[in-house]
Amino acid sequence: MYIIVVGGGKVGFNLTKVLLRDGYEVILVEKDKQRWTFLERVLGEAVYWGDGCEMRVLEELGCSRADVVVAVTGHDEDNLTICQMAKRKFNVPRVIARVNMPQNEEILKLLGVDDTICGTRIIYDLIRQEIETDKIHFLATLKEGGYEIVEIVVSKDSPVVGKSVKDISFPPNCLLISLLRNKEIIIPSGETVLEAGDSIISLISSEQVVALRHLLAPKEGG
């Protein structure tokens, strides 16, 4: 597998190091001569001095046979340009961009970047999950639609215990996907009666997550 990494900052440097260690064919592109000198000393031939935003640089690196292009410079607009070029001009099957401003994640995806990675967003998600993991497990976030797939364990003091699904008033925009009871998956119907300890997986709009948590696993003392 041939991977081109553009941007030799901390992210690009360490990513390249790990990829090389794991035996991938990798080229790291850095445009700053001084930084390149440092990188070359550590990583050797795997580092190329040039501006990854230039088409002829990518051409020279054989971009059209690359399996993945990763753009991890500190500038979202540069990462976008690199990914777009790789995808549309060189038909690279997978392009990944680092996003520095979280609000740009969606924009980059709209403009054709397969995958985005945003440090700020990841840390934010981790913090949020840490805060709420006692009751909720966030399985997936469907960003475009503002929906989440969450897993919540029904606590014994929840008002839903012993009730069938059809008699429970769930928050709006919430779909029960499945429930896990004694290591067995149950696809719930209206007749399914919920028990304490059931682990419920549902698709729910982001705004309603807290409401669902309060319903299924109310905090002790309210």
């Binding site: 935003c53 088409m55 979202d76 607009e77 976008l80 001009k89 924009i107 403009l111």
Partner: protein, 136 residues
């Protein structure tokens, strides 16, 4: 009244902003450096927005949702390309133009279908024309 958004209030951006305003256009200018607006005349009738062009909020504050034209005229080529694409693909602005300085990148943006104007090429051609009597 035609509505234009200009991203980048440098020498080029401020000049275009002023010229369009004089023609009766409604103009909004975005620049991340508030000092840049001093290039506009004191009685400039348009909006001045402090912010970066690749920020949706700044573009919305400039009124991108009903703009007729967006001109990306900062000195960052990739910024201009990204703003222009945001305007075209997300906000459906009918006319866009991105300024680029580096002719090597021109073919990139051309490949991406972004209308561009490359000042380096234009100026070089004018100079050549003046000296040799023939442009490229």
């Amino acid at each position: 009244m035609k509505k234009a958004i200009i991203v980048g209030c440098g020498r080029v951006g401020s000049m275009v902003a002023q010229a369009l305003a004089e023609k009766g256009w409604s103009v909004a200018v975005i620049d991340r450096n508030p000092d840049a607006f001093r290039r506009l005349p004191e009685d400039f009738p348009g909006k001045k927005i402090i912010g970066v062009g690749i920020d949706v909020e700044a573009l919305k504050a400039a009124g991108i949702e009903d703009a007729d034209v967006l001109l990306a005229l900062t000195n960052g080529d990739n910024t201009n390309a990204m703003v222009a694409q945001m305007a075209r693909d997300i906000f459906k602005v009918p006319r866009i133009l991105a300024r680029i300085n580096d002719p090597l990148r021109a073919e990139t943006y051309y490949a991406l279908g972004i209308p561009t104007v490359c000042q380096t090429t234009i100026i070089s051609n004018i100079i050549l024309e003046k000296i040799t009597g023939e442009g490229e």
